[in-house]
């Protein structure tokens, strides 16, 4: 009797584990398939002319340079605003903030920011930056909108990295006569740098791939030139992919997949760099 129940228990375990393995496999396999398929379909479209040319023939031919440059500018603009602010907020939460009602309110606000739908950020950007502050449909308005959306990612990952630095480092530094800011600047930040960098890149990756927040704040359907000031509108890769896959009839499949592939490379290379920095930092960590 006891043996029988032990066998059935083991059977249940084996069955259960097989189901879990299968589920994990079914979750992960499509990711690999999707990436492989886009590479397979998109690679033939990639050429020097495609990457450095302007769209022609109603975007049915030519290259996607303005979209690539636009996404690059937007990512850069987002970094300029969100990186200092995000790291500052993370330092505040990890090094200065007391555990009181205000700090809890800040945390609640960050959680809220992280959950707000991307299209609502678009509405907000339209209301505040484009119309109220009169930046117009511009890189500036789009970057600011994307910055606020990226902020919670940067804050929470940076805070985690800062908190991982052992308390004894701070105690030693302060006891040697350093001020609090000197301790943060010379001891804590360098130790947390790789973690912060990982968070920053993951946040910017999200900003680079987003479409909804830039719909009403930056994105131009088609522009025959590159933007030359922060107050210009610009094309952007995600929006361009959206346009050529939904609004342009008779679009050659090759260009669609080529654009998807360029966007994917842009975003996933950031992802890989972040993963690499993190794993290298983990291997090197001495505490």
């Amino acid at each position: 009797m006891k043996i029988a129940s032990s066998i059935s228990r083991r059977l249940a375990q084996r069955l259960g584990f097989s189901i879990l393995t299968l589920m994990a496999l079914l979750t992960v396999a499509p990711i690999i398939a999707v990436i492989a398929y886009i590479v397979y379909q998109g690679a033939p479209a990639i050429s020097w002319g495609f990457l450095t040319g302007f769209p022609s023939d109603g975007m049915r031919a030519g290259g996607i340079l303005p979209a690539i440059v636009g996404t690059f500018y937007l990512t850069l603009g987002t970094a300029i605003f969100s990186v200092p602010l995000g790291i500052g907020a993370a330092i505040y939460l990890s090094e200065y903030a007391a555990d009181n009602r205000w700090t809890r309110l800040i945390r609640l606000a960050i959680i809220n920011l992280a959950g707000i739908p991307s299209v609502v950020y678009g509405l907000f950007g339209l209301g505040l930056f484009v119309l109220f502050l009169k930046f117009g449909i511009s890189i500036l308005a789009g970057s600011l909108t994307l910055s606020i959306m990226t902020l919670p990612v940067i804050i929470s990952t940076s805070e985690e990295a800062l908190r991982a630095v052992p308390q004894s480092f701070r105690v030693v530094s302060i006891s040697l006569g350093a001020t609090r800011w000197q301790t943060i600047q010379r001891i804590v930040l360098p130790q947390a740098l790789s973690g912060i960098l990982t968070g920053v890149i993951l946040g910017l990756e999200r900003a680079a791939g987003e479409t909804a927040p830039i719909l009403f704040t930056v994105a131009a359907f088609f522009l025959p030139r590159l933007p030359n000031s922060p107050f210009d509108a610009t094309m952007a890769l995600p929006y361009h992919l959206f346009v050529i896959s939904t609004q342009v009839p008779g679009m050659p499949i090759k260009i669609q997949y080529g654009t998807a592939l360029v966007l994917l490379i842009f975003v996933l290379s950031m992802n890989l760099i972040a993963t690499y920095i993190r794993s290298r930092a983990r291997a090197r960590r001495q505490w």
Partner: protein, 304 residues
């Protein structure tokens, strides 16, 4: 090396400034949430005076003729989200349990970056593939007039919710003290029984948080649903609605905001939908975070 009084005061002054800046950036998050809510209200609330309430509560969304019924859009969002939940919850939790409890170390190290990659896939890319591959496939497979349906949207949105669910649920499972598992195993439970009867219940509130935040993401997802759900604002008519086109709140904003005149009633109603989305995400996130908070409190009690 002695610090002279002058150097010292300069040091203090810059330290003072930097500290102010850091405190200010800490509080900026509150400012931004406030600004977002304020501007949504500023642009969206006037709709309540402009549009009669029974128009907002009727069943037709036809803005060019002045029919602004939000109900079909709300239903569209709910249908697509429910479908996504059916897919994302079992697969997300299954993967999280597999990664945290079952997988050998090397599999875990390989799976986690892959799931993160899914989180990094731009939603417009998922929508694009949905249009190109999934929708034509479902049209033929189910013999439908169009493959752009709520079902296609649910499937893709499930994929968007999965990374959130996996990473938070896995963290929660990881945080269960090792001694819990060891105690269960020592009493003769199999690993499988330990997972079901000890580890999962112990991580319950974290798992619930994972589900809520994952589902919260799907309600707000915009580009994927806009591209694959067919954009037809209709009321729910039984199970068959799953296999016909729908229109969500997010997709409506994305589709129509570009074409409306600023300050028109249509513009205000789109902001009103934005307010609804903001409130939904706020409720979901605040509830989820207080759940984690409570769990923290409980573990502190047990440990002290």
């Amino acid at each position: 090396m002695k610090i002279t009084a002058k150097q010292g005061s300069k040091l203090n002054w810059s330290e003072f400034m930097i500290t102010r800046l850091i405190v200010a950036s800490g509080y900026s998050a509150i400012l931004f949430v406030g600004l977002i809510f304020f501007f949504l209200l500023r642009e969206g609330l006037p709709a309540l005076w402009q549009v009669p309430l029974n128009s907002l509560l009727s069943s037709r969304w036809y803005p060019t003729e002045g029919h602004f019924a939000i109900l079909p859009l709300l239903e569209g969002s709910i249908i697509v989200t429910l479908g996504a939940a059916f897919i994302a919850i079992p697969f997300g939790l299954g993967t999280a349990i597999f990664i945290a409890e079952v997988a050998p170390r090397w599999t875990r190290e390989a799976l986690k970056p892959l799931v993160e990659m899914l989180a990094g896939l731009p939603s417009v890319v998922l929508g694009f593939l949905g249009m190109m591959i999934l929708a034509p496939f479902f049209r033929r497979f189910f013999d439908l007039p169009t493959g752009l349906t709520a079902f296609t949207g649910s499937l893709l949105l499930g994929g968007i919710a999965i990374p959130t669910i996996v990473s938070i649920a896995e963290d929660a499972l990881d945080a269960v003290p090792r001694s819990y598992r060891e105690a269960a195993l020592a009493m003769g439970a199999t690993q499988w029984q330990t997972i079901w009867k000890v580890t999962l219940p112990a991580a319950r509130s974290g798992v619930l948080t994972a589900i809520m935040l994952g589902i919260g993401r799907t309600i707000g997802e915009t580009m994927t649903v806009k591209m694959v759900t067919g954009n037809a604002p209709v009321l729910f008519k039984g199970l068959s609605s799953w296999f016909s086109p729908v229109r969500t709140m997010t997709a409506t904003i994305a589709a129509e905001m570009g074409e409306v005149a600023k300050g028109s009633v249509h513009y205000e109603v789109l902001f009103l939908i934005g307010i609804i989305l903001f409130l939904i995400s706020m409720i979901v996130n605040v509830t989820a975070s207080t759940m984690v908070f409570r769990q923290g409190k409980r573990s502190e009690r047990i440990l002290s």
